[in-house]
């Protein structure tokens, strides 16, 4: 299947948006994990 120039452009912009959304979601889960753990995040068994 061959895409038109416009379709290729739109697919690229959608792919970038999905990448940003996934990165934001990963950052969100990381941030909330830190918030929930609080100071315990540093409490590691040696």
């Amino acid at each position: 299947m061959r895409l038109t120039e416009e379709q290729t452009k739109h697919r690229r912009s959608r792919s970038i948006a999905i990448a940003w959304a996934l990165a934001a979601m990963a950052a969100l889960f990381f941030a909330v994990t830190i918030v929930r753990l609080g100071a315990n995040v540093l409490n590691r068994p040696f």
Partner: protein
Amino acid sequence: MSDTSLDIDQTGLETSSAYCAGDVSDFIALMKPRVMSLVVFTALVGLVVAPGTLHPVIACTALLCIAVGAGASGALNMWYDADIDAIMQRTAARPVPRGRVSPGEALTFGTILSIGSIFTMGLLVNWISAALLALTIGFYLFVYTMWLKRRTPQNIVIGGAAGALPPMIGWAAVTGTVSVESVVLFLLIFMWTPPHFWALALYRSRDYERAGIPMLPVTAGHDVTRRHILIYSLALGPIGLAPVFVGLGGILYAFSATVLGAVFIALAIRVYNRREGRAAEQAAKKLFSFSIAYLLLLFVVLLVEHVLSGLAVTGV
């Protein structure tokens, strides 16, 4: 060959006009950003006025989940209603009727966002607010869009519950419960919805009629709709004051709710009295515009009062 099939171009390669033509902006439009903004704002107020505290990161997460959930509802609504959206002037430019996004893509997009927002809310905030978010999305899609919208003129009366739930979700995000105060916020939006939409339906009735949607002006006529608008507006006045009696609103809110409620009723009376021609249409348009300002202002006042009282308590 049809527009949605594969064609062979001069180079012998297949090209497809069925391939998703939509840009990111089309997918954003699919989420009904204007509706989403009101949903997020009412949820924010529910979150701020709730007793207790929530870490700012968790609060932002809750609002993000509510926004995405509202967007998902919009996308699923546009998937299901693509046929009638194409007929109605107001909705004909939406991404699915315009062919920018296929119905299948809208369904997939809406489903992924729904599941994602509910589970993120459950995992990162709490499961009561996640359950309320699931109820909101499910009610809007299955009860309002699929069941009521094309069957009964009471569609927006009952379906309005979906739009009234966001402050309860915001409240539940903080408290983990459903309480009388949050039910009062729900009731305020629930009672506001019918006169708001019927005012719109009065001057868009031909659009609804053409699409076969049994809005009240189409099934019962404009005069009956005007009477219903007036009755609901009269009921909305006292309900607008209810937050004062459960301790959510203070003096400023009581004053605002009284004045705004009186204006709402006055405009509803004008809609009731002006029944012919351009004056009737303008009265309906004015009530519709004011109804948006009414809800927005009441929630702004609630927000301001709580922020100010919070600052007073902390001595800032």
